[in-house]
């Protein structure tokens, strides 16, 4: 579980996060949504410890991040898997080497043990034969799956995904969403996804935090988001006519 209390973050005079508080629960896919510039990426980077915040607290299982020693921070980071927006695969390594990288860095496993684990996770993300390919030879969807494989190879407790569906066609995006949800359920991870893909919100949003201008405007789930009367949320989530119709039908059906 990750708990955020009254988080503030600024860059110079620009106040990006203004007192955000929320809880991301274990075994759930937690989505952070909001318009571009609402502070989603900065929030995610604060959670990861890539940005330092001015005020507030982020705690992992009760341990406040800013109070951890360097070694404790290192241990915490070894329990975090991250899928970046652009996948962030290492260009100079093959797909298998990319996935093996966290094992080489943080475990004392033998080469054959590491290879077995890489085989297992690549099969888990439906890429059983991609070992020797370079990242540049893989499609966008494949790269995202490799990034997920690399993120989960070391059995992390926490999985963070920054726009995992950006640049993907709708079909591949659903495959990635489902894969993230399956993995979250299977390994009981705390998964936090930064997204503005409304399909993801409706598919896998077990908890949704909506940010607007650096504030937490609303929080709920994929079920409650249909019923909310928060204007900012409905304007953002149901901005397309299709979603407006879907919402109307849902409300009519449930009346």
């Amino acid at each position: 579980m990750i708990e955020v209390k009254n988080l503030y973050k600024s860059f110079g005079d620009a106040h990006i996060l203004k007192g955000i508080s929320t809880v991301f629960e274990k075994g759930k896919t937690n989505l952070i949504i909001g318009q571009s510039g609402s502070g989603k990426t900065v929030f995610l980077k604060c959670l990861l410890g890539l940005f330092e915040y001015e005020k507030g607290a982020i705690s992992y299982e009760g341990h406040v991040m800013s109070e951890l020693t360097a070694n404790e921070k290192r241990d915490l980071r070894a329990q975090i898997g991250m899928v970046f927006q652009g996948s962030a695969l290492f260009d100079s390594m093959t797909i298998a080497e990319n996935v093996m990288f966290p094992l080489r860095m943080f475990t004392k496993q033998s080469k054959s043990e590491m290879e077995d684990r890489v085989d297992f996770v690549l099969k888990r993300v439906n890429l059983p034969d991609a070992h020797k390919k370079m990242p540049s030879e893989a499609s966008g969807g494949m790269q995202k799956r490799v990034a997920i494989a690399r993120a989960i190879v070391n059995n992390p407790k926490y999985l963070f995904c920054d726009e995992p569906n950006s640049g993907l066609d709708p079909k591949t995006a659903i495959v990635i969403d489902n894969l993230i949800q399956e993995i979250t359920d299977e390994y009981q991870m705390t998964t936090v996804i930064n997204s503005h893909d409304m399909n993801s919100v409706m598919e896998i949003g077990e908890k949704i935090v909506f940010l607007k201008d650096g504030y937490k405007e609303w929080e709920g789930s994929k079920d409650t988001i249909f019923k909310t009367d928060n204007e900012a949320v409905t304007n953002f989530v149901y901005s397309s006519n299709l979603f407006k119709k879907v919402r109307r039908m849902y409300i009519e059906e449930n009346q």
Binding site: L50, R74, R77, F90, R104, M105
Partner: protein, 245 residues
């Protein structure tokens, strides 16, 4: 003010480069890869330039000696001094700032743009140690390149002098042995080691701290080349004043 800030950040980067070392089995692979990229892959261009510049120095010296009182062995002497004292350590380093420096800046800059550095940091890896330290170690073999540049420069001078008809082999050999001061070699290698450090760290600084996209990677490479060259020239001046002045 910005320059002072950058100098401060540069020195902090150097301090952080030695902090939290990467696992040796991984670091060994990185060092070997960087030796291949930065040292072995530079041998061809360094050999080519050194040989022909050595030849040009010999020809220019020979053509400018019109006084019969000046001994012919001066061609070999002047070529040796020019190559060992300045051409090999300093001007090859300027060329390397273009070749190796741009490579370092663009490769680290691209990693920054594509979030690969963020990926390392999230995993709890000291990205400066992972990226810059192996380059620093690889470039400690830089004196090896400069030795080859010295040898081929003097050899190029000999070839141009003898086969171009500007002097005899005996005069040239006598010239390169005349008034030889071993400390000049020590001086050249001290400079080389300082330049190697600058070649590893200044381009890394510009790549690591760049902001923006692909266009900025190109701009960072150019800026890195300019500043690496400026600092090498300044360091050359101060080291020469200190060691030979």
């Amino acid at each position: 003010m910005k320059y002072l800030h950058n100098i401060g950040v540069y020195f902090l980067m150097i301090k952080d480069m030695f902090r939290k070392p990467t696992k040796w089995s991984v670091m060994r692979t990185l060092i070997l890869k960087d030796i291949d990229d930065l040292i072995i892959n530079s041998l061809g261009i360094v050999a080519f330039i050194s040989f022909f510049v050595g030849g040009v120095v010999a020809i220019q010296t020979s053509l400018n000696i019109s006084n019969p009182l000046i001994p012919k062995y001066l061609v070999g002497f002047a070529t040796r001094q020019s190559i060992i004292l300045e051409f090999a350590p300093t001007f090859i380093s300027i060329i390397m700032a273009g070749k190796v420096g741009s490579f370092i800046t663009s490769s680290i800059g691209t990693m920054r743009v594509t979030e690969q550095i963020d990926a390392l940091e999230v995993m709890g890896i000291n990205s400066l140690n992972y990226l810059v330290f192996p380059k620093f170690i690889a470039l400690s073999l830089y004196p090896f390149i400069i030795s080859i540049a010295m040898f081929l420069g003097v050899l190029g001078g000999l070839a141009a002098c003898v086969y171009g008809g500007y002097g005899t082999l005996e005069d040239y050999i006598e010239g390169i042995q005349t008034d030889f001061i071993p400390f000049h070699i020590v001086y050249a290698f001290i400079k080389t080691l300082v330049f190697a450090f600058l070649l590893a760290t200044i381009p890394s600084f510009y790549g690591y701290f760049m902001k923006g996209g692909a266009l900025e990677v190109g701009k960072a490479s150019t800026t890195s080349f300019v500043w690496t060259s400026v600092v090498i020239i300044l360091a050359n001046y101060f080291l020469t004043s200190l060691l030979l002045g």
